[in-house]
Amino acid sequence: MIRFSNATFSFKGSAGVSDATFSVDEGEFICIIGPTGAGKTTLLRMIYMDAIPQEGSVEVAGFSSDKIRSKQIALLRRKVGMVFQDFELLDDRSVFENVALPLHVIGMSREDVHSKVDGVLDKLGLTEKSHNLPHQLSGGEQQIVSLARAIVKDPVVVLADEPTGNLDPAASFKILKLLEAIQESGTAVLMATHNYNLVKDRNYRFFEIIKGQVRASSG
C-alpha cells in the first residue's frame, strides 16, 4: 500500500524527513508520534505527494514518486483522505459544501453527493451545523469537518494530522473509535498525534520521528 525507500525530503537548513524506509499494508493503523517540528506533517505530505522526496522514493497505492505526473497526483489524492493540521477549509463555503468538495471532484451525481454528505455529517454529529460557514464553528467543530471531508469519499488510506488537537478527551476518543472502524473495513490509517495519553494503551503500530529520523517504536 505505502512503501518508503530511503526517502528524504529536507528544507533548506531544516530537517524535514531523512532516509525513511518502511512500509504500511492495507488495513493497518499507524500512529506517528514525535515532538514539535520533528517531521510528522512532512512525512504525511510525502504520502499525498505534496512533498516529492529529493532522494529515495515513496510508493503509494501503485503510484511511485519517481515517475508520478501532475494528473496522476490528482488521481492518487482521490484515494487518500487527509485531515490537515490547519483544517484547510474554504472560508466562504458552508460545512456541507466543504465536505462535498471531494465528491464533486470525482464527478458524483447531485443526489449521491447529498446522501453521502448527509450520512457523514450525521455520523459525526454535525448535521445541525451543516449550513454554517467555518468561522461560525468552534475550533473542535472545524476539525471534525476536516475529518468528515477526509472520509466522505471512502479512501483507501486516511492520513490524519493531529486530528484531536482541538478536541476534548471524550470527543477525541470518539474520533479514535471512528478511525478504528474505518481501519477495520480495510482502510489504512496513519495518524500523527501529540496526544500520547490518548493512544498509548491502544493496539497500534507506532512510528517515532525525531529530527526527521523515523523509527518503529513500541509506543
Binding site: Y48, D50, S70, K71, A74, L75, L76, R77, R78, K79, V80, M82, F84, E88, L89, L90, D91, D92, L101, P102, H104, V105, I106, G107, M108, S109, R110, R149
Partner: protein, 288 residues
C-alpha cells in the same frame, strides 16, 4: 454531465461571490475596450471618408470662347462615355458669371457688355480612386478633343493625398495597436487579480484530488462570462460614443459615423479571446 454542470455552476457562483471584483473586471474591460471599439469605428469611417476624398477631386475642362452651351454639353457627354469617367457637371457661361459675382462682389454684366468667361465642365473619375499614372491618359484624351482649350487637374494634390493616406493608415494602425496592447495587459491583469484572490480555493481543490483541468474550467467559464459581459458593455459604450460623436459632428458637417456590426463582433471576439487567454495564463501560473 453532473461534473460539467457543477463546473459551470462553480464558475457562475465564484463570479457572484466576488461581486466586487467581477464588477470591476467587467467595468475595466468595458470601458477600455469601448475606446478601442470607438477607435476602430472611427478608423473604418475615416478610411471610407479618405477613400471618398481621394476620388473627389475634379478635372476641370475649359472650352474655347466660341463654344456654345449646347456644344459643350455634347462634348461633355462624349467625355462621360469615356472609360474611368464617373460623372461630369457643366458650368455654363451664365453659371460662371454667378461664380464671378460671388467671388468678386460685382455683376460681370455691369462691368462689360459681353460675358468673357468661358464655358467649362468638371469631370470626376471612377469611384475606386486611380493612381496618378492612370489619370494621365484620360487627361491627354480630353485635351486632344475639339473645342477643348485647356484641361486642368490637381496632379500634385493627388500624389499628396495618396501619400497622406498611407501615412494616416500607419498612424491609425499604431494608435490602435498601442491601445490594444495596453488593454491586453489590463485585461489579463484584472483576471489574474480575480484568480489570485482565490488561491485558497485552488490549493484546496488540488489537495482533495482535482485535476488541473477541473480547477481551470470554472475560471475559464468565469473568464468567458466576464469577457462577454465586458464585450457587451463596451459595445453599448461604443454605441453611446458614436451617437454622441454624431450629434457633435452634426453641428459642423453632414458627415455621420456609420455603425459597423463587423467591428462590434470583432470587438466581442477579441475581448473573449483576451479573457480566456488571461484566465488560462493566470491559472497556469497559480497551478504550479
Amino acid at each position: 454531465m453532473d461534473k460539467f454542470i457543477y463546473l459551470l455552476m462553480e464558475g457562475y457562483r465564484s463570479l457572484w461571490r466576488a461581486k466586487l471584483s467581477t464588477f470591476s473586471s467587467i467595468a475595466t474591460i468595458g470601458v477600455t475596450l469601448s475606446f478601442v471599439g470607438f477607435g476602430a469605428m472611427a478608423t473604418s469611417n475615416l478610411a471610407r471618408l479618405a477613400n471618398e476624398s481621394r476620388t473627389d477631386y475634379a478635372i476641370e475642362v475649359f472650352f474655347t470662347q466660341l463654344t456654345t452651351d449646347s456644344e459643350a454639353q455634347e462634348i461633355m457627354n462624349e467625355i462621360k462615355s469615356m472609360d474611368r469617367v464617373r460623372e461630369g457637371v457643366l458650368i455654363t457661361k451664365q453659371e460662371a458669371a454667378e461664380i464671378f459675382q460671388k467671388e468678386f462682389g460685382e455683376n460681370i454684366y455691369d462691368l462689360l457688355d459681353d460675358n468673357p468667361l468661358p464655358t467649362s465642365c468638371k469631370i470626376k473619375l471612377e469611384e475606386s480612386g486611380l493612381e496618378p499614372a492612370e489619370i494621365e491618359p484620360v487627361v491627354k484624351a480630353i485635351e486632344a478633343m475639339d473645342k477643348v482649350e485647356k484641361v486642368s487637374y490637381p496632379a500634385k494634390a493627388i500624389t499628396l493625398i495618396e501619400s497622406y493616406f498611407q501615412g494616416m493608415l500607419s498612424v491609425v494602425a499604431l494608435i490602435s495597436m498601442a491601445i490594444l496592447m495596453g488593454t491586453t495587459v489590463l485585461v489579463s491583469n484584472t483576471i489574474r487579480l480575480t484568480i489570485f484572490s482565490r488561491k485558497d480555493l485552488i490549493r484546496i481543490l488540488k489537495l482533495v484530488g482535482a485535476t488541473d483541468r477541473f480547477v481551470k474550467i470554472p475560471f475559464i467559464v468565469e473568464g468567458i462570462i466576464v469577457g462577454i459581459a465586458g464585450g457587451v458593455l463596451s459595445s453599448l459604450l461604443t454605441y453611446l460614443f458614436i451617437r454622441t460623436a454624431n450629434s457633435f459632428l452634426m453641428l459642423f458637417t453632414p458627415y455621420q459615423l456609420i455603425w459597423d456590426w463587423r467591428v462590434i463582433i470583432l470587438l466581442i471576439l477579441v475581448v473573449a479571446l483576451f479573457s480566456i487567454l488571461g484566465s488560462r495564463k493566470a491559472v497556469k501560473k497559480l497551478l504550479t
